[in-house]
């Protein structure tokens, strides 16, 4: 798109005029009328856009519907594994951002959220991914841990049958505690074996507030002269935050209609791939699988 120097100068000249007008405090009636006309044009543009958006919304919804029909795990781990085996790589750690939906919605409310979280866990296990973190802004899941453990256990039984239920642990960084299986906290053989999936439950307080807490702790050490501000390196902060919260996920799946990070721990979104399906509001297997498909094609190049 070539644009000549004269043209630039001409445009700047016009700009000067507008700048001068802006400088003058009093607005003439002409300016007011002009503003009104321009704003009217803008509103017209908005209404055109809203029509475009409506069509977009409907096509997205239809597409998601079809995807959900096309990819159905049918509570069968083999199907999930078959889908995943086709990919050339899968992430080590995935994270999902879930939202509590209103009770009136289908699959909404607390039990909807519980179901979503446990379905997600099961898909992760079946796909062979060893680490999953679930972010929910208010931390409803970690406040209702017993329900979640039972729900995940039930879901795993649904998928894998009662004789070979995959093992899982749930870590709550805020409490600094790990819970094993549905009720295997005292079972040492359960704890020492290789767990199939490690779940971490995150919420808003694990984000910026944790970094603030960490700063406070370090400030206390600094005021006692046990640490110097020069010792603060990326590596130190990273080690601390990995210990407090966990490793950064490779893939973050957002089951929300737009890319909305909702205060997700900032330190942990450095290089993570985001996946979301526009206008999707549900936690479905199709979205999960498509996010893995996308990850398998993404190029890994730090800085290059």
């Amino acid at each position: 798109m070539g644009i000549s120097k004269e043209d630039v100068l001409k445009r700047i000249d016009q700009k000067h005029r507008t700048v001068k007008q802006r400088g003058d405090e009093e607005k003439t009636t002409f300016d007011k009328i002009l503003f009104f006309i321009f704003h009217l044009v803008l509103l017209t543009l908005y209404s055109v856009y809203s029509a475009v958006r409506l069509i977009q919304f409907l096509t997205n919804k239809v597409r998601i519907k079809f995807l959900n029909l096309a990819y159905n795990p049918s509570k069968t781990p083999q199907i999930i594994r078959d889908d995943v085996v086709k990919l050339n790589k899968i992430p080590k750690r995935i994270s999902a951002i879930l939202t509590l939906k209103s009770e009136e919605e289908e699959g909404g409310g607390f039990y909807g959220l519980l179901n979503d979280a446990s379905e997600l866990t099961t898909w992760t296990v079946a796909a062979g991914i060893p680490t999953l973190s679930i972010y929910e802004y208010d931390g409803i899941l970690k406040n209702n841990l017993d329900d979640l453990r039972i729900s995940i256990f039930k879901k795993l039984t649904d998928y894998f049958g009662s004789s070979s239920i995959p093992t899982f642990s749930i870590r709550v960084p805020r409490l600094n505690k790990t819970f094993y299986g549905v009720n295997s906290d005292q079972d040492d053989t359960y704890k020492t074996q290789d767990l199939h999936v490690e779940i971490t439950l995150l919420s808003f307080e694990d984000g910026k507030p944790t970094i603030v807490e960490l700063t406070k702790t370090m400030a206390e050490l600094a005021s006692k002269k046990e640490i110097s501000p020069r010792d603060i390196t990326i590596k130190l902060i990273d080690t601390e935050l990995v210990q407090l919260i966990g490793n950064e996920p490779d893939l973050i799946i957002l089951f929300s209609p737009t890319l909305d990070l909702q205060g997700y721990p900032p330190w942990h979104i450095r290089l993570s791939e985001f996946y979301w399906e526009p206008d999707n509001t549900d936690v479905t297997y199709a979205i999960f699988l498509r996010s893995l498909q996308k990850y398998s094609t993404c190029k890994i190049n730090v800085g290059k």
């Binding site: 630039v8 704003h39 894998f160 005021s223 893939l251 450095r270």
Partner: protein
């Protein structure tokens, strides 16, 4: 798309085209300005090299094309009265690239920035204040002095009595967000040691005040990344992780990104803002989403056989699945490329 580009190119090369082009920009900015305009926009200018590759150009020409695109966008931002623009010029990780390329990027950046502020013919220079954001201890000393000179000059140029407040152009140079957060924590500790701050006063605001950015910088309203990658690559991770910042990933290379793409994004942003501002914004959408097209329901019913596995399970006694007996999954590869 090809036809569209051809039409645009022919138009912009003709005289009438150029006249219309100039006029249309003024018209569109004036229209957009009457609605919601973000205060702070950030750009990840990704895809210069891939652009060069697809066009059979040298890497340096790709960067050159990218910088042209940047100038246009900065002008547009100024016209729209956006007061803060942040660009990701060079990441600390970019030192991994070949020495030649790193030097070349430094050179182009210096050239373009000095063009912005020194060229007498280029009158935007009076309206732009450049700030270098990043870990200055990692910048080679020669380059740093040149950049600091530019910073100083642009401050003198733009802060005169006659001019309206300038556009602040934050150039993130040798910057990563994690480095910024670590730096800020270090600064906060120093404040505590110097007894300018008590430990109880530390909060997220204090931490963001100690960033490389000026503390008065408003929060980032819009982050645009070109080239289709859907990750932040260590840029503004603290600033954009909340709901009030919108992130847009565009499926085009940076040199292809022009004002019109930008106008479209701003229109979208303004529209969404308007919808948010209306008291019950969701009502229209919920109405539509609850009334799913009947056709789909019928089709779904038709495809119920998809669940036949459920049926099999009930009738088959021996359906337990042993995870170990499933086919092994593909290799696990983290985002850093580590395999296990």
């Amino acid at each position: 798309m090809g036809l569209y580009n051809l039409a645009i190119n022919t138009l912009s090369n003709s005289k009438i085209g150029q006249y219309l082009y100039g006029k249309s920009n003024i018209l569109i900015t004036n229209i957009l300005k009457t609605g919601y305009i973000p205060q702070h926009v950030a750009f990840i200018m990704d895809g210069n090299r891939r652009f060069a590759k697809t066009q059979n150009l040298k890497v340096s020409q790709g960067h050159e094309a990218g910088s042209k695109s940047l100038l246009k966008i900065i002008e547009t931002c100024y016209d729209l009265e956006i007061k803060h623009v942040t660009i990701y010029a060079f990441s600390i990780e970019n030192f991994n690239r070949s020495e030649d390329e790193v030097e070349n990027i430094f050179k182009i950046l210096l050239e373009k920035l000095s063009f912005l502020i020194e060229n007498q013919d280029y009158e935007y220079s009076k309206f732009i204040q450049i700030k270098i954001i990043g870990n200055k201890s990692l910048i080679p000393i020669e380059t740093l002095t040149k950049f600091e000179l530019i910073e100083k000059k642009s401050f003198e140029n733009s802060n005169t009595d006659n001019n309206p407040p300038p556009l602040v152009l934050n150039v993130c140079f040798v910057y990563t967000s994690r480095d910024e957060i670590s730096h800020s924590i270090g600064e906060t500790l120093q404040d505590v040691i110097d007894q300018n701050l008590s430990i109880d006063q530390i909060n997220s605001q204090i931490i963001s005040n100690n960033f490389y950015f000026d503390p008065n910088t408003p929060s980032v309203d819009l982050l645009i990344r070109t080239s289709g990658h859907t990750r932040l690559s260590d840029f503004l991770i603290w600033q954009v992780n909340e709901s009030n910042s919108k992130i847009e990933f565009l499926n085009m290379y940076w040199p292809d990104f022009n004002q019109f793409d930008y106008y479209k994004l701003l229109l979208k942003l303004g529209f969404n803002k308007l919808i948010q501002d209306i008291k019950n914004p969701k009502s229209i959408w919920e109405l539509i989403s609850n009334k799913q097209p009947k056709l789909i329901e019928i089709f779904e019913h038709f495809l119920k056989f998809n669940n036949y596995n459920d049926f099999e399970k009930i009738n088959n006694q021996d359906w337990n699945v042993d995870l170990k007996k499933l086919q092994p999954p593909p290799p696990l590869v983290s985002i850093l490329g580590e395999k296990s």
